[in-house]
Every structure is written in structure tokens, then in C-alpha cells.
């Protein structure tokens, strides 16, 4: 397996956690999430991957989407907020992630 494939696998689960964690701070649109992640390219979420992910999270009941139209008119955007199930999932995922990160860091170290 080459490094790019490995990185892709690594990012697969992390992207979901990143989105849920960002939504924990308040409802955001797909654009809002992408803008928040713009400075974090290693998370690996792009315009092409964020909407299928949000669509799945909504179908799983972890987030709830709502269309909001700007006060001045114009085309609205769908904003997503965490549901109670999403909050529970985030809590479990956060705990699992911290344990995983700590254990792996102990093995791999932090030197680049």
C-alpha cells in the first residue's frame, strides 16, 4: 500500500469526527464547514466530499439540516446542526480518538 492510499484510509474516519466536532460549536452550512477547514488541509475534506458526508450524517440522524435564507434575500443555504444522537456519537468518537491518538503517539513519537 502506498502512502497516499494509507493517508486516504486515515482521513476517512477523521473527516466525520472533524465535521461533528465543528458542528458542536454551532450550526454551519457546507460552505461554512469548508471555510473552517480551509486552514486544515490534512483533514482532507473538499467541496466534493463534504456534501455526501453531510447527506449521510443527516440520514443517520446525527445532524439535522435546515434551509436558511439570508435576511437581504437571495439563495438560501442548508445549515446543519448536531442532533442528540450526533452529540452522543461525538462524545464516544472523541473519547476513542483521544485514546487512540495518545497510544499511537507513545509508540510513534512526535518527531517529524
Amino acid at each position: 500500500m502506498d502512502v497516499e492510499t494509507w493517508k486516504s484510509q486515515l482521513k476517512k474516519g477523521a473527516a466525520e469526527l472533524a465535521v461533528l466536532a465543528l458542528l458542536d460549536g454551532g450550526a454551519r452550512s457546507g460552505i461554512g464547514l469548508l471555510d473552517a477547514l480551509q486552514m486544515r488541509p490534512e483533514i482532507g475534506l473538499s467541496d466534493g466530499s463534504i456534501y455526501p458526508l453531510l447527506n449521510r450524517l443527516e440520514r443517520e440522524g446525527r445532524v439535522a439540516g435546515r434551509w436558511e435564507t439570508p435576511a437581504g434575500g437571495g439563495r438560501g443555504q442548508k445549515h446543519y446542526a448536531l442532533t442528540a444522537d450526533g452529540r452522543t456519537a461525538l462524545k464516544s468518537m472523541r473519547t476513542a480518538w483521544i485514546g487512540f491518538r495518545d497510544d499511537l503517539t507513545m509508540i510513534v513519537g512526535e518527531r517529524k
Binding site: K12, G44, Y51, N55
Partner: protein, 191 residues
């Protein structure tokens, strides 16, 4: 081409590619809103490149939806349907479709044999022919082979029933296995 025309063009392609999905309007509206927003920032070209061609963008939704729904439901119709729908795009799905399909067809054949035993018992059975060492289970037009013995008699009905259930369960387990495999191997799209 103006930004509005480019957006219309992309959305038209996406609408066509998503025609199989019942709730596509929501997805299309969201992608259009995304493109409108990016056009307002002067980044429409980058946004279209990042989304990929309409077919690829649609495929990422369809795959995510079918695989997820099959996994959540777990029923044989959903899992087999997902493999069927994705077989043309994913080798794993095509392989799963082939192997689970064999067992579903076998299950159907055993059900047929069980029913046929009730209608025409003389033509249905499990024959063994010591002379040739051959063995046959099922229905045949001419079962009067001189050296062949029918072994099961009326037991063909419960035996066929059990074999049908076993084949069906194996087919279902295989479908689920390949759906799980697809979920594990599915790369995050458009990274």
C-alpha cells in the same frame, strides 16, 4: 459562458446523473447553492473542479446512500439491490453479486424442487447410481434409470426446504460480507 450558464449546465448534468434517487431535489438545491456562493466569491471554476464532473459527484452520493442503506437495513433485498446497483462501478460489488447470486439462485431451485416433489413425486428425488458412481439431486424427465436408486422419497420436501434456507442464509451473509468490505475499502471521495 457566463457563471449562471455554467451553473445551469453543471446542475443539469447532476440532475440527469441523480435521476435514480428519489430525494435528489435536496441534493441538487444544495449543490446549486454551493456553486452560487462560490460564483459570488469569484471561485466558480475552482468549485466545479473540486466537485468533479457531475457524474462523479452524483456517484459519490449514490454510493454513499446505497451502501449505507444496505448496511443499516441488513435485509437481503436491500443488500442484494445495493450490490446490483453498484456492480457496474465496483469490482467488490460485482464479485459479491456473483457469489451471493449463486446461493440465492440455489435457494430458489431448492424451493422449486420441494414444491415439485408434491406435484410429481416420481420425477423428483436424490438418485445414486452405484454402477457409474454418479449422484443427482433434483427433478428429471426420465427417472427410470435401471441401476439408479432414489434415496430420499418423501423426505425430499423437508431436505429441500432445509437446503433452501441454508443457501438463502449463505447468500445473505455473503451479500452483507461484501457490503462490509465495500464500506471498509471505500475511499473518501474527492480528497
Amino acid at each position: 459562458m457566463s457563471d449562471a450558464a455554467k451553473i445551469d449546465d453543471y446542475v443539469r448534468g447532476l440532475t440527469r446523473a441523480l435521476r435514480a434517487l428519489p430525494d435528489r431535489e435536496e441534493i441538487i438545491a444544495e449543490i446549486r447553492a454551493h456553486l452560487d456562493h462560490r460564483a459570488g466569491e469569484g471561485k466558480l471554476g475552482e468549485a466545479i473542479t473540486a466537485l468533479g464532473p457531475p457524474d462523479a459527484c452524483a456517484r459519490s452520493f449514490i454510493e454513499e446512500m446505497k451502501v449505507q442503506s444496505a448496511f443499516a437495513d441488513g435485509g437481503p433485498a436491500k443488500t442484494f439491490g445495493a450490490l446490483l446497483a453498484l456492480a457496474s462501478q465496483r469490482v467488490t460489488a460485482a464479485t459479491g453479486l456473483f457469489f451471493s447470486g449463486i446461493f440465492f439462485v440455489m435457494a430458489a431451485a431448492f424451493v422449486f424442487v420441494g414444491f415439485y416433489e408434491m406435484v410429481a413425486p416420481e420425477t423428483v428425488g436424490m438418485w445414486s447410481d452405484p454402477a457409474t458412481g454418479s449422484f443427482f439431486f433434483g427433478a428429471m424427465d426420465d427417472p427410470t434409470l435401471p441401476s439408479a436408486h432414489e434415496l430420499l422419497g418423501p423426505w425430499m420436501i423437508p431436505v429441500s426446504g432445509v437446503l433452501a434456507v441454508v443457501s438463502f442464509v449463505i447468500g445473505q451473509k455473503l451479500s452483507r460480507f461484501f457490503i462490509r468490505l465495500m464500506m471498509r475499502r471505500k475511499p473518501l471521495l474527492a480528497i
